[in-house]
Amino acid sequence: MEYILIIIGAVFVNNIVLAQFLGICPYMGVSSKVSTSVGMSGAVMFVMTLATVVTYLIYHYVLVPFGVTFLQTISYILVISSLVQMVEIILKKVSPALFQALGIFLPLITTNCAVLGVAILTVQKEFNLLEGVVFAIANAIGFALAILLFAGIREHLELMDVPKGMRGAPAALVVAGILALAFMGFAGLV
């Protein structure tokens, strides 16, 4: 039951993009086509889950015992960026097909604040390892849901007659606002 609450909370109620404003850069950047957003969502889910596990272990077995929790930000970002690099190298060797699919999105993830944000939130919410993993996967699903809905709308928006000044980013942001409004309907679900 507790895990179901975590999942519903992260996917719908506190959606990572539309309610918490994390991962806006990829959300705006790669959402012009549905196919690229599928690739990005896959890469985010992969890295976010891995990063949460690794940063959890680092926090509880390195930072806390040595009393250097103030190094959290530095150590997390280092771990995440080297993790991304490592995943890239391993994928290239082990599964070239998956690498082809995720390839160009992987380096972009280092600066995706959603990954670092979820890792820090896992510590703040005092989750245990399993809860942290569930939380990370649920957030990645929330990201995928938000970006896929958005990409679908943006593909239609391309063909619409939008006022000149509003073309591109402004219209997309207003659409995102309306999506966020729709997601507010889930508030109170948990």
Partner: protein, 194 residues
Amino acid sequence: MSQLKNFTKGFIKENPVFVLLLGLCPALGVTTSAFNGLGMGLATTFVLVSSNVVVSLIKSQIPDKVRIPSFIVIIASFVTIVQLVMEAFMPDLFAALGLFIPLIVVNCLVLGRAEAFASKKNLVSSLVDGLGMGLGFAFALTLLGAVRELLGSGAIFGFSFIQGDGMLVFVLAPGAFIGLGYLIALTNMIKKNE
């Protein structure tokens, strides 16, 4: 490019938020009021100026292959400084900005300026660039915060102008997207008329 132009480009012409669309997460996340926007903007300015200066000073020492990780470590150190100082002296603001303080590390604006500007230019140019871009970012966040605060609760910086209830939606998440969308459209208009 003269230093004056280098400084002022961040406000309208190459405004990080309205034109370059960088650092949108904090721009949307913390701008529930003008004060929060200004606080976040100034914190980012400090990190940006310091990292630009350090990167510019040691650019010849950093091997090309590991430059991105080195930039990130430099930025993360300054973010940790901001985090600790703010927690000690401005606990209210620290609580309001919350998660977005450590997330300055992954603000594309900071890394972007280090990579695109400070790693190529001299010390003074990098300092001016960091200051201009940072203040441009602070300007954008304060403006967005002021618009949202005005529409949402009829006040700017806590001084209320309009009595009665505002449009609550502008303080909540959707208002951030919609407000930023219209501000970008406005910037496009101003830029075209120049």
